[in-house]
Amino acid sequence: MKTFTVAAAALLAGTASVASAQSDTDATTPLPVIGTVPALCTGGTLAGGDAFDLGVLIDVNTGYLRTDLSTEPKVLTGSFCSARSTISVVATPISAQNFTATPPNGFSRQVDYTATASGWTPTAAVYNTADATHPAATQQRDAAFTGDITVSIGDFSTVGGNALRMVADPSYRGMVTVTLAVAD
């Protein structure tokens, strides 16, 4: 009996045709991990109460608006915007709340002043109630920012001229509004 067997080498070099996708290493394409942060602003918290208390507005001896009116500024702490932003200040004249009729000759019922919001932008935002236009009332910040905003009022004057006396009223009121907004 004759038996023919041939022992062969285990791997044949050059005879295997390997599919092009096969490899001993495989890697994913990079898996994106994504999310968004909205552009938002928060005005922070107002330290020292929410009212500028000016007290008695007039010199009781003359009846004219005091020339030494002043008050401590208010601070908004923890304000931030996560993107470029604008800060704007709007103020309304300090007006008699009970005496709303047209004052008699020689009298006024309103006080003009300047409201300033500083600390946010290099140039403070300023609004003067006596002005017809207010180009400086809106200022821009070019990047995200966090910081304190100082709101102050000053530069008081009698509406109609300082020769007018103020009508009596236990309540005179003005309003300063500071707005932080994300810029387009």
């Binding site: 023919f4 067997t5 041939v6 062969a8 285990a10 295997a16 045709s17 599919a19 996708a21 096969q22």
Partner: protein, 177 residues
């Protein structure tokens, strides 16, 4: 000087009649026989299937199914039979426990065809398949593979080797002398 030349001859002398006598005839019969025998006249063959797995890591059945090689042989007796044994392809490189989901052998069916008769064997069953009575023939013995399988599992990397054994058995056609 006499030289004697001796010619030794192993050849029998047939039909030698006694010389120089009265004519008489002797008969010498010649007996011979031809034993039942089978023989392959070609060398062994090799099927190199190359990379057995597809891109999914499982057996690509097209690598083995349909592969064939032709041997040449003959048998001179009517009782001659042919059988084939399919031995699975086994991984010759991997040692250790076979992990779940993998296989390290490839099974298949081998068919040998001689004198228009088929002998088959399945590699999952040890030993050769049933023999067929090919009888007296001389010519091609075609060996073909089909039905390859790795059980649907991934194949462990490495070299794989198996073989198909074809046996021609003459048997005894006319009984013992």
């Amino acid at each position: 000087m006499k030289k004697t030349l001796l010619l030794a001859s192993a050849v029998a002398l047939a039909g030698f009649a006694a010389p120089a006598m009265a004519q008489s005839t002797g008969t010498v019969s010649i007996d011979g026989s031809v034993a039942d025998r089978c023989l392959f006249t070609t060398d062994s063959q090799t099927i190199s299937a190359g990379e057995l797995a597809g891109t999914d890591g499982k057996l690509d059945t097209s690598k083995l199914d349909g592969q064939n090689r032709t041997l040449v042989g003959w048998c001179n007796g009517t009782a001659a039979t042919m059988s084939v044994e399919a031995q699975p392809l086994l991984n010759v490189d991997f040692t250790g426990t076979l992990p779940s989901g993998f296989n390290d052998r490839v099974d298949y069916t081998a068919t040998a065809t001689a004198n228009s008769l088929d002998a088959t064997d399945d590699s999952t069953v040890a030993g050769a398949g049933t023999a067929v009575n090919v009888g007296v023939f001389s010519g091609d013995v075609k060996v073909a593979l089909s039905g390859s399988t790795a059980g649907g599992n991934l194949l462990v990397a490495g070299g794989y080797q198996g073989q198909v054994l074809v046996t021609l058995t003459p048997n005894v056609s006319f009984g013992a002398p």
